[in-house]
Every structure is written in C-alpha cells, then in structure tokens.
C-alpha cells in the first residue's frame, strides 16, 4: 500500500457507531432543513403565485414590479391591465378605471424589453377568463429585429411550468420574500400599491424642470436602432399570436408614448423602420371592436415642450392624464381608428 493510503489509517478514538450517528444526524438535519424551507416556500407562497395549495395569506408587500406583478397579474379584482415599461408606468390605473368602468391594474415593469412584457401579458391572460381591455404602452423595443430578454427578469415566476417555478424558487431569496410576506401579515411592512401604480414623479423637487441636452449632444436615443432591419419584427409577431388567442371582443389599445423631441430618430432609415413598426402594431388593433393605436412618438407641440418631461424619455403627470383620456376614449369606442397625435 502506498503512502497515500497509509495516511488514511489515522488513529480513531471514536467508535464507528458514533461516526455513523454523526453522519445520520448531518443527513437528517440537512434534509430536514431543506424540506422545511420547501414547505415554507409552498405554504407561504411568497409571491402569491397561486400555483400550489397554500396558507392563503392576503396581499403582498413587494416594491419590485418584476415580482409584485405575479400577485397583481393574477388577481381576480382586475379585468383590464396596462403593460409596458417605464414609458407606460405613469398611466394611472385608478383614473383609467374611473374613465372606462373597467378595473385596471398597472403591470408595466421599468426596464422591461418586449419578451418580459409578453410574459406579463401571457400571465394576465392565463389567469383571466374575462378580460375587459388590454393597454400596451409600446416603444421601439418592440421594433427590434432581435428582441433580447432581460437577463435578470424572473421568467420562471410567470411561466407555465410549476416544476420550473419550484426549482428556481428554492432559494434564500424566496425565503426572504416569504419573511416579508409574513411581516406584511402582521402589518410590519408597507403593502404594495393595490393597483401596482408607482409614480416616478414622487420625490421630484417641486421646481424641477427638465433641461434638454444641447443640440450637439443629442443622439439617436432609441433603444435598439442598430437592430432595426425594417423587415422583421419578431416581438410583434409573438404579440399577434398572443392577441389572436383572445376572444375577438377584447378591446386592445396600443400607444407609443411621447419622448422629448431630441429623442426622436433623425436617420431616415431608422425613421422608416419605426414607421413600419408602428404600422404593424396598429394593424393588431384593427380587429378589436373598441381598440385603437395612439401614436405620440412624433414631433408635436407636446414633444417639443421640455416642461412635459422629467427627462428626454419620461413624460410628466399632465401628459399622462392626456394619454389616459385618449386611451379611455378609444376603449369607449369613441375613436377606434388609429390616431396620430
């Protein structure tokens, strides 16, 4: 026997039975702790996914739309939803509900690309047998020839596979979310906004005014100009498939929110692709009885006034109110045709 195996033969003071007990204890506690964690994740249902029988705790306390939307998106309290990213975030679901008679939830996720917004739409549709309206605040991300999913978006929370959900949920992060939900039950943390509304103007100084960049520094700020090839819009194709599965009576409103004029494309090729992209999105709303397409991403008095913007791509509250009124008109059937503002 060589030196390596000889070194194994160390003097062992403890009897074999004691070591067996050590191993048994280790395995039992290890397995028991993980089983307990799994049971807590299932029973507390930290994100209110409704996938498994649970304790049925009420409400969530989650400030991150990426995860808070799991609960909001499947809630039976709503029959209409706003999708998008920060470009649709300031649309107030409460005001839209009052103006339309529907019950809106805000499901926009700041930073979301088209694949994440599609996942949200899919989740909402999956959990609602009756849908009053779908509002999509689109942007140039829908026009990309190669729409890339956001690396950190939790697709597993919104997917169809319960096994995938459980596999990914098995983590310390989910247990932290479970603890937060327990704290919420005892009133120790602020609950999430009941309609998912997150006003990004909150905390803005009262005298805040957007200062547009000097002309020399302006760029073609659209998100994926290099990926616009003008021929294919795969994200729109997938959206079309999703909307085709809805009953024909479901109203669909799609809008391009405004950006400050410095953000509008100046390259004629990009302008042409954007126009084609808008046209493709507008066509999706045609078959909808009370749907419409609203295009505010054009040079206009609204987009030329820096007072309408917090920064070049995020409009302020008065603009949001204008958009809400236009959306409500469309959904009430007072403007089913595509409109450019």
């Amino acid at each position: 026997m060589d030196a390596m195996t000889q070194r194994e033969q160390v003097t062992d003071a403890a009897p074999e039975a004691a070591w067996r007990g050590f191993v048994a204890r280790f395995v039992a506690i290890f397995v028991g702790a993980l089983a307990l964690a799994l049971a807590l994740i299932v029973l507390i249902d930290p994100y209110d996914s409704g996938r498994f029988p649970s304790l049925g705790l009420a409400g969530i306390a989650d400030d991150t739309q990426r995860t808070a939307n799991v609960s909001l998106g499947r809630s039976g309290k709503f029959d209409a939803a706003i999708f998008g990213n920060s470009h649709g975030q300031l649309l107030d679901p409460e005001r839209l509900s009052q103006a339309t008679g529907l019950s809106f939830v805000q499901l926009a996720i700041p930073g979301a690309n088209a694949p994440e917004q599609m996942a949200m739409i899919h989740w909402f549709v999956r959990h609602h047998a009756r849908i009053g309206a779908i509002v999509l605040a689109a942007d140039d991300r829908w026009c990309s020839a190669d729409p890339q999913p956001w690396k950190w978006f939790p697709f597993w929370l919104y997917g169809d596979s319960d096994i995938q959900y459980l596999r990914t949920a098995f983590s310390a992060r989910t247990l932290e979310a479970a603890a937060r939900r327990i704290k919420h039950v005892f009133g120790l943390v602020h609950p999430s906004d009941p309609r998912g509304y997150d006003d990004y103007e909150r905390g803005l100084p009262p005298n805040y005014r957007f200062v547009p960049p000097p002309v020399a520094e302006r760029q073609d700020a659209l998100a994926f100009p290099v990926l616009l090839d003008g021929r294919s819009f795969p994200a729109i194709d997938r959206l079309a498939e999703q909307l085709a599965d809805l009953p024909a009576r479901v109203p669909v409103a799609i809008l391009f929110p405004p950006r400050y004029v410095s953000d509008l494309p100046v390259d004629p090729d990009v302008q042409a692709v954007l126009a084609e992209c808008k046209s493709r999105l507008a066509r999706l709303t045609v078959q909808s009885p009370r749907g419409g397409f609203l295009d505010y991403l054009v040079a206009s008095p609204m987009t030329r006034d820096p007072g309408n913007f917090e920064d070049a791509e995020h409009y302020r509250a008065p603009v949001a109110r204008t958009l809400e009124r236009a959306i409500a008109e469309v959904l009430r059937g007072q403007g089913a045709e595509s409109r450019v503002r």
């Binding site: 160390v10 003071a13 070591w19």
Partner: protein, 456 residues
Amino acid sequence: MLFQSQGFILVFLPIAVAAYYAVAGAERARQWVLIAASLVFYGWWDARFIALLVGQVGGTWLLAYGHKQTGRAAFLYAGVALNLASLATFKYLDFLLASAEWLVDFALPRAHILLPIGISFFSFQLISYLVDRMRGDAPIYAFRPFALFVMLFPHLIAGPIVRHNELIPQFALDPRRDGLWRRLAVGLMLFTLGFAKKVLLADKLAEVVDPLFTGAAAHPLALADAWNAALAFAFQLFLDFSAYTEMAIGIALLFGLLLPENFRRPYLATDLRDFWRRWHISLSNFIRDYLYIPLGGSRAGPVRYVLATLGSMALCGLWHGAGWTYVAWGAWHGIGLVCCRTWQQLARPMPAALAWLLTMAFVLAGWVLFRAGDFTTAASMLASLVGLNGPGGEFRGAGLIVVSALVSALIPSAHEIKDGLQWPRPALAAAAAMLAAYCVLEVGRGPPLSFIYFRF
C-alpha cells in the same frame, strides 16, 4: 455541473453515492459506476468533449500498452505528443496564432475553438503517467482503472493533480472497509467547508473584484481601489480554489478514496519557496518532478538552476492560461524563487514579519499580473498600488476581506482537518448540516458562479 449547484448536491451526488454503495462489493461494478458518473458529470458541460476525453485517455492507454508489448519508447513519446497536441490545439492554438501574427506582422486566421473544461488537468495526468513509464515507475494498468484514474469526477476538472500510483491502488479497496462512517463524516465536513467558502466568501469577493479589474482596463484606479482589487482577488483566488479542493477531497472520501493535499495556508508563507510548498501543491510537485528536475534542477550548477527555475515556472504560468501575462506571472515567480534561494544561501535570515511582508507583497504583485487581462492593465494596476495614479478611491467590502483573511490564515488544510477530526461531536454535525442547507438555498439565488481554476 458545478459542485456547488443544487442539481449536483441534491440529485447527482446522492444518486452517484447510492449507486456506488449498491454495488460496493463488486470492484468492477463500482468502478464502472464511477466512470459512468464521471462521464455524465463531464458531459453536462458539453457532451461533445466526452469524445475528446475518452479519446485522449484511450489513445494514451493504447500507446502505453504498445510500449509494454514492444518495449519501444516511441510509443510513449507518441503518447506525450498526442496529449501535447491536444493541449496545443484546444487550448493554445489561437494564442500561438496571435503570437505568430505579432512576429510576422500580418493577419492570421483564428480557430476559435471552445476550450474543453479541465483539459490542462487531465492532459498533465496522462503525460505524467507516460513519463513515469519511461522512467520505469509505472506499470500497465487494466483500461478500466486507468480510465477512472483520469476521469474520476471529483478531480477531473480542476485537480488536485493525482498521480496514477496515488489513486489506482485505492480502487481495489472496498469502500465499506473499516472507517467507512468516519470517512463519510469527514467527507461531508470537508465538502461543507468548501461549499461555504465558495458561496459565502469567494463569490461575494468576486462582486468586489470584477468591477474593479474591469474598471482598471478602462482607466487607472486610485490607490484605495487598487489595493481593494488586489487584496480581494488574492483572497478570492485562494478561497475559490481551496474551496474546490476541499469539496473534491470531501466528495472522493464519500467514495472511500483519498485525493492529495493541495493547499496548506499559503498566505502564512514567509518566503517564496515556502509559498510554493503551500500553494497548489499537486501542481508544484508536478512541475518539480516533470519539468524542474529534468531541466537540471539545482544540482547541475548555478546557470542550469536559474534556467531550470525560470523555464519551469514560465511553463507553469503558460499552463494556467493561453496568454503572455500568465507566462510573465510564472517568470515573475521564477525570478522570485531564484532571488529567494540566493538570499537563503547567504545565511542571513531576515525577521519573520519582514520576510512574510516581502513574500506577500511579491505574491500580490504577481496576482495583479495573473488577473489583469493584459500588460497595460497590469502595469496601470501596479502603478496604482504604489500611488502613482493618485490617492483616493474607496475600499469596499472591508469586513468581507477581513473575514476572508482570517479564514485563509486559520482554517487548516483539508488533510489536517481529516486527520484532526477525531471525535464526532453531535453539535458539529448539526451546525455543519445547517450551514450546508443554508448554502444550498444561498446558491439558489442565481446561476452558480464557476470556479476560477475551471478555465485553466
């Protein structure tokens, strides 16, 4: 499949252990179980590379067998050439092309071959076997144990580099022999220790290190940022690699096998020779036995000694990565080892504290070269470390670095733990199990980070 992934810990390893002990009484069957598990483990990254692994192992064994049958050394040289050619193709081809391009000053095409994980480790083990046969130190083994010696999944990807005579005789031992439960207990403890070091320290240090080195490639770092990057990386590298080693030794013990030691608290070294006796010991031994001594070692005059040291350390650097910064890092340590030996021959020992400080400063400067993507970044970082790029900066993760330093200095080596764990305290089992369970949940936060040495 990574050792710290939930899939490995909760599915693969329990199945492999259960299957192994189900056939523990039959030597051949349990070896096949380990070979099958190792192929699944390796194929999990990229099934295409299974053919390369099996081909290299099979080819080497056939050539060694040819040598046995004919007595012609050409078979063994062909085997060494086969393994070096595989390494040159899969790991160094683009590096060689880039270097040649620099010499000839016109553009050469690139192969863009995906690096097969662990190729440096298993190629070196195969070469060491062939060289040992040339020396008359290695018998011909049956193919099954020979293949298992190379493929055994605990050491396949990142070592420890094992010699055939350290491992193959162990395959004949019944894993249920005396000491079974103690081996299992120690295996679980070592695995948990490495798991916690990787997940709770090394991966957290990566969050400090990566942005700083990325930033250093774009602009010079301020003094505090440079020290932050260098110290955090020094501990990240050690904790990451030693964690892997502890997990590997722990897993092997679950199968009744003992892998060699790889680290003995290297940051306590008080001279550079001492450092290399503590750092990546299995590689140091390999370099010593198969490069340094054949190149002349220290017994063929001072000139041969210097050349042997510089040459073997430069090759050691190149083994780590296909880049000149790695060669320079190896040469840096070669120069340091020559200086260290020269000083020691003067017989004027310096105070231990000063010796430790000098050694660590030297090692730290080397790590900057090792981690930086190019010489420009390395030079900028080194300049920042001595304040040439201005004061200021922000030292992030100080608490984490202090804890990492304490863990690096205080936790004994894997074999010392194995030998020192003499009494099975129930509280220790409970604490370790809770720690392991916590780490399983912690690693679930996102995709597990690969071990640094997997890229070598």
